[in-house]
């Protein structure tokens, strides 16, 4: 059970949040022009890394804001939380 540092509210228990899978998947700006394959990638393809993962969470039972989480899927340590629109943090190997 994580403790998640909501960028808007601070540290809260995981039960207040929902995870929504991989972050930084931009919706194609020109859906009509992308190929079936490109559109399929946007819809269906997700990373499932052993290690650093960037994912979207919402603070449902709190501020209801969406934000991003950088989590190590091996240790489940949350390395960083950051607001939507902020760029993906560097990964230091």
């Amino acid at each position: 059970m994580f403790i998640i540092d909501c960028p808007y509210c601070g540290e809260r228990d995981q039960t207040e949040f929902t995870c929504h899978g991989e972050a930084h998947i931009a919706r194609p700006s020109n859906p009509n022009e992308v190929s079936d394959e490109e559109w399929g990638r946007y819809l269906f393809f997700r990373n499932n890394p052993k290690g650093i993962h960037f994912e979207r969470w919402t603070h449902d039972h709190g501020c209801r804001r969406w934000f991003n989480v950088m989590r190590d899927t091996v240790s489940d340590k949350i390395l960083k939380t950051y607001k939507m629109g902020e760029s993906r943090p560097e990964v230091n190997e």
């Binding site: 929504h20 919706r27 009509n32 079936d36 819809l43 449902d60 240790s75 939507m84």
Partner: protein, 1001 residues
């Protein structure tokens, strides 16, 4: 004779307080402070139950939470509980317990035949029989069902109350033995908020049963002074009878506190158990260790127990479990107990697997006239209800063989010690790593990613002085890490009679050939797993530890292998001739001990299980006899029976009232979202499939929402209230989902859009009046001009209804002239009552969700989630007209041209009329072109909605059928569960008022 096995004095039971209890229907007496196990042993009851698979007689192996054998059915009636460890049950007056797994009685057990038939139950038995063909399984089923399962569940509802508590602390100390207490002392002195939990009713742990000294004082006295100091600190919380059961990420631990389990009466004020959810900044694990059994032939008889258990029964409870004791050991530590028994007048013999003993031990044994058989092993035991004889033989360690003459020894109690295993379960749960220690021959903690420290025996250390100092230092260091006060260092000195230093591994491997013979060398007592089962699993290829565990069931069950795991691994190591650390170990998972479902549920039972949502008009529904349907958390009137009407009759009447005169529906549960901001129209254009730019103020529009896969996920009517102000409605069940969907895109994709969404579902009461007389009724009660031209279909108007500010929407889900009257919730009941009063002249009829479903189906209006299932597009539902061709983009648009969504043979939404005009098809029925006498048949679709239509006079149905839009008029067949085959014809989806004029009147 009662308490015949009690010593004359000694122990910590209160001999002035006699307690009466019943075991297997027979009355006994024990003392305050006894456990059920100690009281039974005191009364010379050794046969406690029958084993799980072979129904062998079993007694008491341990004196704690690791007990695999002595598990009983505790209590009677609604409060009865199965699988409770007799070694942990505190005796209370009137306690009733019974053996498990035996019929007709523990002494004469029919299932014991399994023991004789044990060749039928090898490792992997279940996997070998749970196989095709089913006929083989049927053969075994009866037999297995009778034999399987531990104990009985209560049939009646549990009257006990359970509670949960959230707790935050600086440091949690798990284990109230000496090391845990010393760590807590340091933390407490440093002014940390400390929680210390221990599963026993008494703090102090194992050392209480020894004559050890701490800093020159008797350990009992010293421990009392520590406890007194801890209890004087208001920053320290001490919980006894509390077992830490789970260790999760970020130092989140759960603990089960037995609050009143040991009370005779059901408490009205205090819960039976309290489930703690603990978030600790730091954790110190001080759980101690479990003594491990030795594996030898017939090592499971009543009267065979662990050395540490015998020591506890003697010293804590003043009970001698036998008069002629044999000790079987591979380590020095166990000798202390032999000397203690000898002092109490028991005859003691020692069988030691090792060939050289320290001179000191040799000397002490000689002085106490204790005979020691060195390099010997127990090779068999005898006695049907209790052990009465053992056979021993010399071991040639080099050759791994038994040699020489077999010696018979009479004994009524065999105590064994194979060394100690640290209680690494919680550490393992914390994703910790274990290391195999070659000297102790067991797994010890190595590392954990959690913020914890391990101290004492739990850390694989058994020297008292070292452990005391480590524990105190761990406390000081933890406090320093937390930035707390510094504490004066204390130099600790402990003295134990004989401390545990090492154990041999050889005994497991004794008689390599022998373990495959007929006699049973038990590795896992609770699951009846023998050494030969482990051998068999290896032979059959289940050589990974996880496979061996599941194939043999070693380490499963209510004790989760606390006594068996390391022995099983050692045996595997022996078989594969590989070191144990290369064999590995299974992962421990929560809970550490069984926990009641009641405690996990806490107060979330009965009416607190899930919130119930009621509309503002609910009180009226109650008074008028509504039957309810649960829609999510909402209670919605399903129908309103009059007199003795059943559902069918009531719904027919309600439907016809709407069609012929006037009905009223409480539609308050519809999801409602208030949307404001300059970009709202642009936003709606992206969210809905149709176009919203040109919607005028005062107009309403029906829309479909698709997800990015192009599949319908909600629908509803949205109206333009003002320039930048819209009122969106959603399905009742989809309200929260839609709200989240809107927020997702506003917060993650279109951050520049200025739109604000507010859920207003509960702010508005919604009454839908529907039927040809609805205008006549409303005109009596409103100042709004209701004329067809002033207020046409799909418009909304502000005005007063019954003197209350209202928004009235001219929209219809029945196909009749309808008005949806929205008033602030606090006026809902009043306006509804007024409508009922003034509607009398039109015989206004309240209708429920069932009639609503029929009425909308007659018109072919879809219900998202009933007619759609998340895999259908608007095109599939024949709703192409709702999909804009002009819009550049909207959510789901691109997916509507994926090859899969364009497939010809997709299931399409159609109507279905049964040819017999009588049968109401079951919803969900499969539709085939041609029914056959048995599957397989080619499926072409399924029925999504099906009702009797009172206005049509025959049943109607809606269905999804492959390529259905091109098959109108074709005949299909629906095979029913009862074997009947119904013929039906594919139609369009509108069954009533096909021209759609009634809406517009």
């Amino acid at each position: 004779m009662s308490n015949q096995n009690r010593t004359m004095y000694g122990g910590r039971v209160d001999r002035s307080k006699t307690i009466n209890f019943v075991f297997n229907g027979k009355k006994y007496k024990g003392f305050q402070g006894d456990t059920l196990a100690s009281a039974l042993l005191a009364n010379d009851v050794h046969l406690i139950g029958r084993s799980f698979k072979y129904h062998r007689a079993r007694g008491i192996l341990t004196a704690g939470s690791e007990e695999p054998n002595a598990i009983v059915q505790l209590g009677v009636g609604a409060r009865t509980e199965p699988n409770i460890r007799a070694t942990e049950i505190e005796l209370y007056d009137g306690l009733e317990a019974a053996s498990q797994n035996c019929w007709p009685s523990v002494k004469f057990d029919i299932g014991g035949l399994n023991n004789i038939l044990s060749r039928l139950f090898p490792a992997g038995f279940y996997y070998k029989t749970f196989k095709w063909p089913p006929s083989l399984w049927l053969l075994y089923e009866h037999f297995i069902r009778k034999a399987a399962g531990l104990g009985k569940s209560p049939i009646a509802k549990n009257p006990d109350r359970y509670e949960q508590k959230f707790h935050h602390c600086d440091a949690l100390v798990v284990g109230g033995g000496i090391t845990g207490l010393v760590s807590a002392l340091a933390l407490g002195r440093a002014k940390c908020e400390v929680l210390i939990v221990d599963e026993n009713p008494v703090l102090g742990g194992y050392i209480l049963d020894t004559n050890s000294t701490i800093n020159g004082k008797s350990c009992n006295k010293y421990i009392k002074s520590i406890i007194d100091e801890l209890q004087s600190m208001n920053n320290v919380t001490v919980l006894t009878r509390t077992t830490a059961t789970g260790y999760y990420d970020y130092n989140y631990l759960t603990a089960l506190q037995k609050v009143t389990n040991h009370w005779k009466e059901l408490s009205k004020t205090v819960p039976r158990e309290r489930f703690w959810r603990i978030r600790a900044k730091k954790v110190i694990l001080a759980q101690g260790a479990f003594e491990r059994p030795l594996v030898f032939s017939d090592n499971d008889r009543p009267g065979i127990m662990m050395v540490s258990a015998a020591r506890k029964y003697l010293n804590s409870y003043g009970v001698l479990p036998g008069k002629s004791i044999t000790l079987f050991t591979n380590n020095d530590h166990a000798y202390s107990t032999a000397f203690e028994f000898n002092n109490k007048g028991a005859k003691v013999k020692i069988i030691d697997t090792r060939d050289n003993l320290s001179l000191e031990l040799e000397d002490r044994c000689r002085k106490n006239s204790i005979q020691v058989f060195k390099s010997h092993s127990v090779i068999s035991t005898k006695g049907s209800k209790k052990i009465n004889e053992i056979e021993i033989q010399k071991v040639d360690i080099e050759k791994n063989e038994l040699t020489g003459e077999i010696i018979k020894i009479s004994t009524d109690c065999l105590i064994m010690s194979g060394g100690w295993n640290p209680a690494v379960q919680l550490l393992s749960q914390s994703r910790g790593k274990l290391r195999y220690d070659e000297i102790l021959n067991t797994f010890v903690p190595e590392f954990s990613p959690q913020d914890l420290k391990v101290v004492g025996c739990n850390n694989g250390k058994f020297d008292l002085t070292e452990n005391l100092n480590d524990a105190f230092t761990a406390g000081i260091d933890t406090a320093a890490e937390l930035g707390k006060n510094s504490v004066d260092k204390v130099t600790w000195e402990g003295n134990e009679d004989i401390s545990f230093t090492q154990a041999q591994i050889e005994p497991y491997a004794l008689g390599k050939k022998e373990v495959t013979k007929g006699s049973k060398h038990f590795v896992d007592f609770q699951n009846d797993v023998t050494a030969s089962d482990i051998f068999l699993a290896q032979r059959e290829g289940y050589i990974s530890v996880e496979h061996t565990k599941r194939y043999t069931t070693t380490g499963m069950g209510t004790d989760q292998g606390k006594t068996s795991n390391v022995n099983a691994l050692a045996l595997m190591s022996h078989i594969h001739e590989k070191p144990v650390d290369q064999i590995g170990h299974t992962t421990f998972r929560p809970p550490y001990v069984p926990q009641t479902i009641g405690a996990i549920a806490g107060r979330s039972v009965d009416h607190l299980f899930d919130p119930i949502r009621k509309t503002a008009i609910h009180e009226w529904h109650e008074k008028n006899g509504a039957e309810y349907e649960d829609v999510g958390q909402w209670k919605r009137p399903h129908y309103y029976p009059r007199g003795k009407e059943d559902l069918h009759k009531a719904v027919n009447r309600e439907c016809l009232s709407v069609r012929n005169s006037l009905g009223i529906l409480d539609a308050s549960t519809l999801g409602k979202i208030d949307l404001q901001g300059p970009d709202t129209a642009k936003f709606l254009n992206m969210i809905y499939t149709n176009a919203w730019s040109k919607l005028e103020i005062g107009s309403c529009r029906y829309g479909l929402m698709c997800n990015e896969h192009g599949m319908i996920f909600d629908d509803g009517v949205t109206s333009r209230i003002g320039e930048n102000h819209y009122h969106m409605t959603t399905t009742t069940g989809g309200a929260a989902r839609v709200m989240s969907w809107l927020e997702e895109f506003l917060q993650t994709e279109w951050l520049d859009m200025r739109v604000f969404c507010t859920s207003v579902t509960e702010q508005w009461s919604v009454m839908s009046i529907s039927g040809p007389n609805s205008r006549k009724l409303l005109s009596k009660l409103t100042d709004i001009d209701l004329s067809k031209d002033a207020f046409p279909f799909m418009k909304f108007r502000n005005g007063k209804v019954c003197g209350v500010d209202a928004r009235v929407f001219r929209i219809s889900f029945t196909g009749e002239l309808s008005y949806e009257i929205n008033v602030p919730s606090r006026y809902g009941l009043y306006v509804w009552s007024e409508l009922m009063k003034h509607g009398k002249e039109f015989d206004i009829t309240p209708y429920g969700t069932e009639a609503m479903h029929v009425l909308r189906a007659e018109k072919g209006y879809i219900i998202v989630g009933q007619d759609t299932d998340g895999s259908v597009t608007p095109q599939d539902m024949n709703l192409d007209w709702l999909v804009s061709k002009k819009k550049e983009d909207f959510l789901g648009k691109r997916s509507h041209t994926r090859p899969d969504t364009l497939r010809e043979d997709r299931k399409k939404f159609v109507g279905l009329l049964v040819n017999d005009k009588k049968t109401v098809l079951p919803e969900g029925s499969h539709i085939v072109e041609e029914a056959k006498s048995q599957p397989p048949m080619k499926m072409i679709g399924h029925v999504t909605s099906s009702y009797y239509s009172p206005i049509c006079g025959y049943p109607i149905a809606l269905a999804m059928i492959k390529n259905g839009h091109n098959r109108l008029g074709e005949e299909v067949e629906i095979p029913l569960m009862n074997g009947k085959i119904v013929k039906a014809t594919i139609t369009d989806t509108v069954f009533y008022d096909k021209e759609g004029t009634k809406n517009n009147e």
